[in-house]
Amino acid sequence: MIRNKPLLLLFRVVLGGLFIYAGVVKVGHPLDFAQDIRNYRLVGQSLSFIAAVVLPWLEILAGAFLIAGIWKRGAALVITGLLVFFIVLTLVTMARGLDIDCGCFGALSRKSGWSVVLEDLGMLFLGFVLFFDKTPGPSPEK
């Protein structure tokens, strides 16, 4: 368990910042992102559309709340949940042999592959540390 407060704050800023960034680059191009989701061939047109509209905002809000220290554990839960989902999704996509863009960072995305999994695992580590952190933050939750 990490108890170093400045380090925990740094983790929150880095992880939250990455999620805000990932959301912001996608939020302006929902139809492009919808196509990225559709390319995974797991859900149909309608679900791809709904996910493309909502997911970037979930990333932005969870990232912002994590940094602000509001509903910190809830935000960490959303972020770790999303990361676990992304990792499983990427592994399944690789196993199916699909050669597609991951869609992670909008137009800056690269192919779904091991580098995406490693990056997500790195973020997942930060997410777990923050999720299990019990030190009271500057939040109104206590």
Partner: protein, 163 residues
């Protein structure tokens, strides 16, 4: 309330908040979705002036008349295995980082026909959007792609791109 329940509630509240914000921000898009749009494709030609989807018959006419430059957006491997004669190879993936130099020799107002494998392949559309940003004004995407072209028994060519 237990810690676990509180955390779960926070996460659900964040999800609900995201739905509300997303619906508010993207209201015009959500309305179009509710009216039945985007059920077949997320590409709406009206949103992309300068890019049109064309059928194989149109593509064939343009090719026979030599009125458009054909661009193959597939990988170099697939291009080498067979492509529309005279088509230039511009793998969409590579165009993200290094843009093929032959585009500089093509007039920006000249017609381009871009294709990929066919079916639901997306690389031709992705490349079309990139070329639109680069200033090309008459871009036609032949969505039937190489699959439809070859199946119809139209001429093909093998080998690497000579540029």
């Amino acid at each position: 309330m237990s810690e676990a329940r509180r955390t779960l509630r926070q996460a659900l509240a964040l999800a609900a908040l995201s739905v509300v914000v997303a619906a508010a921000v993207h209201l015009p898009l959500v309305k179009r979705f509710a009216r039945g749009e985007f059920r077949e494709t997320f590409f709406v030609p009206a949103d992309h002036p300068g890019i049109r989807l064309i059928t194989m018959a149109e593509a064939e006419d343009l090719w026979r008349a030599g009125e458009a430059a054909f661009i193959d957006a597939r990988t170099a491997d697939l291009y080498a295995q067979g492509h529309v004669p005279r088509a230039l190879s511009a793998p969409a993936e590579e165009a993200e980082t290094s843009f093929p130099s032959f585009f500089e020799r093509l007039p920006p107002e000249g017609a381009l026909v871009i294709y990929c494998e066919g079916g639901d392949c997306q690389s031709s559309l992705a490349l079309a959007k990139r070329l639109r940003e680069k200033g090309f004004t008459d871009i036609r995407v032949f969505s039937g792609g190489w699959e439809e072209w070859a199946r119809a028994g139209l001429p093909g060519e093998k080998g690497d791109d000579q540029k």
